[in-house]
Amino acid sequence: MKNKTLFIIILIFTLFCFFIFLKSLNNSNIYIPPKNLDRKLVSFNTTTLFGNKTIGSDDLFIEDKIYLLNLWASWCAPCRYEHKNLMKLSNNKSIKIIGINYRDSLINAKNFINKFGNPYSEILTDKDGTIAINLGAIGVPETYIISKNKKILKKILGPINSEHIKEIENLSIK
């Protein structure tokens, strides 16, 4: 072999890429235990997607209902899958769904809602992702089940499935 150094450099770089990819594969599967259980929701202020008015978390969770705080984005494929389940839940009068549009272009987000329907009673924007960080979110979609007085009952990682729906509906009956 003539060019040993070059070979070793390329080899090391290849292995480096391999481990990065391997890690990123694992990343999406790491399960972080829900820390926020029975804790209070952090306060935040932001603007709404439709109407562009400023709203705070203190104004939102006041009724005696089960709130779902749903983190979504138009670019997120699992959010599309989840959307029909949210639409189902939105028919339930004792559940209120609040959307947080995470790091999205406003036009795409609006198109998404226009196309697939709007299950949310209010959609807040989180353009730079700071709300999501404060919430301790690790990805989209993510849903917090919140009772009156901003108490977090449960955190759902990933899209809501039919089992989650049952669970949420049970909570809303109590």
């Binding site: 990065i20 990819f21 990123s24 594969l25 029909k84 226009n114 196309k115």
Partner: protein, 628 residues
């Protein structure tokens, strides 16, 4: 049930044949003659047959709506039209891999029967490398993505194919794209085999060139079909979004384009041998890397199939095994050709090489834009997304020298040619192009110097390629057509980008929306019931100053299996511009959200791509005439 069993066992037979082949080939390598053991060809054919049988079994299961098969259950539905039942076979992860496998075995069979003149050892080594890939795919299918898993109890109804994928163009888009991706596997195997057997020669290049053209042709058409689909079906009103998955298909295409040019230089002058080999290997690695990124679920997009971490790890390990194998082969066995000539600055070779570098630069930008977010997330835990502005900023400025070089390059002579160097006419055409660009943009009130130069350069290439049809003798027909197609493509894209306009508004029936140059009138709305969806069609009358009144009828389709609403744009196409109207319902409201776009020269983007690709095909048929 019968067909799932049959399909599964023919896959296992495929694997057994692979092992047989490796054994027989290894024995045959030791025999010192130039005649391939006839058993090898028979086993390759049997392997092709068993994979083909397996694929047919899957198709039959789909046609019969045999929901005892998990793949059919997940991706089909009895109410689906027959055509989409069949196309559902490759519209999912397992089926598409089986199709890839079929193409892999088909191509190696074609390779063996067409390369009669090549030495035996080279052919057998190519076969061995190809078998490594085939075994990789087979193991992947059998262990993590078996298309023939069966379900018990048998469900009555399937979960349906995503209706967004029920589109005739999309039904043929994947198979054509796979022909392109997998075609590069032959390029990969034969390059590695050529290095090992020290057969990096003119004869090798001649054969390789055909495979490069074949993969390049299918990849071009495949990408175009995907792009047409995105334009008509997704209703975003564009044809290219720098979506990671689009990028992934563009990377091997760029690599193959570079290879197509460097292999010509190599064949003629025996130069750029290492470069040609590196490009050959990279093309396939990029195709496989793309598969990894899409199938592992690291990237999310319309193309993401249900992901399973085991799959990701398998493809990753397989991909890096291939990379390591090729690195070892390249570093240990590669012998530079002694005959390399000195490079001359002002020559066709240099211009091809420089244009190759430009292509590689574009490729690197796209590669970095696509995988940098993944790296960043792992290293710093920060999530970013790379969008069109990144690519536009880094690519568009470099298009200018690229186009200039592409215009001049084919007019320069090969190194040993002693004709006069530069044609004075080229300069005149250049200035005329700039003036036309200045004029066209001037009357439309564009003042950016950059846009003027960009359009000017695109026009320059366009005129030069037209001129080439009449004057140059040393440029062959296929190159003229491809380059003309490419110049038309770039020109249409640039004009499309400059002159597109868009109106977005909410409107209800009976309302009229007025904008600067005209008005949109929402006349009425109708409902229909189709076989597997409900259709809502709106009628809009659009009046624009200076044009006739047109009626556009966009459609909303509400599918029930699974429940998804898709919007079908209505598009009026003529040779100057497309008028594009798409509507979306606004929930709980009489209003509809509409998006009206005028897209100049859209049709030319598709036509020129076909022209570009057909140049390659012509080369395949006329190659013997041109080669001395």
């Amino acid at each position: 049930m019968l067909f799932t069993q049959l399909g599964y066992f023919s896959l296992i037979f495929g694997l057994i044949f692979s092992i047989f082949l490796i054994f027989v080939s290894y024995k045959d390598l030791k025999i010192d003659n130039n005649l391939i053991n006839s058993n090898i060809l028979i086993i390759v054919f049997l392997q092709l047959f068993s994979i083909f049988l397996s694929f047919i079994c899957l198709i039959v299961s789909f046609i019969n709506s045999d929901f005892s098969s998990e793949t059919v259950y997940n991706n089909s539905h009895t109410s689906k039209p027959l055509f989409y039942k069949i196309s559902g076979t490759w519209g999912n992860h397992e089926g598409s891999l089986l199709l890839c496998l079929l193409v892999l075995t088909l191509f190696i069979f074609i390779f063996l029967i067409t390369s009669k003149k090549d030495p035996k050892k080279f052919k057998i080594t190519t076969l061995l490398f190809q078998q490594v890939i085939i075994i990789g795919f087979l193991l992947f299918l059998l262990t993590t993505s078996n298309p023939f898993n069966y379900l018990f109890p048998v469900p009555n109804e399937g979960l349906g194919l995503n209706p967004i994928l029920q589109d005739p163009i999309l039904a043929i888009h994947p198979p054509i794209l796979y022909l392109g991706y997998i075609g590069s596997s032959i390029i990969f195997s034969s390059s590695l085999a050529a290095i090992i057997n020290n057969y990096v020669s003119k004869e090798w290049a001649k054969n390789l060139k055909n495979w490069v053209i074949v993969s390049w042709f299918f990849l071009t058409i495949g990408i175009m079909l995907g792009s047409i689909w995105a334009y008509y079906e997704l209703g975003w009103g564009g044809f290219w979004f720098w979506d990671p998955v689009e990028n992934i298909s563009l990377m091997p295409w760029l690599c193959l384009t570079a290879l197509l040019h460097s292999v010509i230089v190599f064949e003629k002058k025996l130069q750029l041998s290492l470069w040609t080999l590196v490009l050959s290997i990279t093309s396939f690695i990029l195709s496989m890397g793309g598969t990894f990124l899409v199938r592992s679920g690291i990237l999310n997009s319309v193309h993401t199939f249900a992901n399973d971490p085991k799959r990701g790890i398998f493809i990753l390990v397989f991909l890096f095994t291939l990379i390591l194998i090729s690195l070892f082969v390249l570093f240990i066995f590669y012998n530079p050709i002694k005959k390399e000539q000195k490079n001359f600055f002002y020559s066709k070779e240099t211009s091809i090489l420089i244009n190759n570098w430009f292509i590689i630069y574009f490729l690197s930008v796209i590669l970095i834009g696509t995988i940098y977010p993944i790296f960043l997330e792992v290293i710093t835990n920060e999530k970013i997304s790379v969008g069109p502005p990144f690519y536009n900023k880094l690519i568009i400025p470099f298009i200018i020298p690229f186009l200039v070089l592409m215009s001049i390059g084919p007019n320069i002579k090969w190194i040993n040619d002693n004709s006069k160097l530069l044609n004075f006419r080229l300069f005149i055409i250049f200035f005329v192009s700039l003036l036309i660009s200045l004029f066209v943009l001037g009357i439309n009130n564009f003042k950016s110097l950059f846009t003027i130069i960009l359009l000017g350069v695109a026009l320059y290439l366009f005129f030069i390629t037209i001129k080439d049809f009449f004057t140059k003798k040393q440029i062959n027909l296929s190159q003229k057509i491809s380059h003309f197609g490419f110049s038309l493509l770039i020109l249409s894209i640039i004009l499309n980008g400059i002159f597109s306009s868009e109106i977005i508004t909410n409107i209800k029936v009976g309302e009229k929306y007025k904008f600067k140059k005209g008005s949109i009138y929402f006349k009425k709305i109708k409902n229909f019931k189709e076989k597997n969806y409900i259709s809502i069609i709106g009628t809009f009358i659009i009046k624009e100053n200076g044009y006739d009144e047109i009626t556009l009828e966009p459609e909303l389709r509400i599918f029930n299996q699974p429940k998804i609403v898709t919007s079908e744009a209505d598009i009026k196409i003529n040779i100057y511009r497309d008028k594009f109207l798409v509507m979306n319902s606004v929930k709980g409201n009489d209003y509809y959200n509409i998006r009206y776009q005028t897209k100049p020269f859209m049709i030319w983007i598709w036509l020129s791509t076909i022209l570009l690709a057909s140049g390659g095909l012509i080369r395949l048929y006329t190659k013997n005439k041109y080669e001395k």
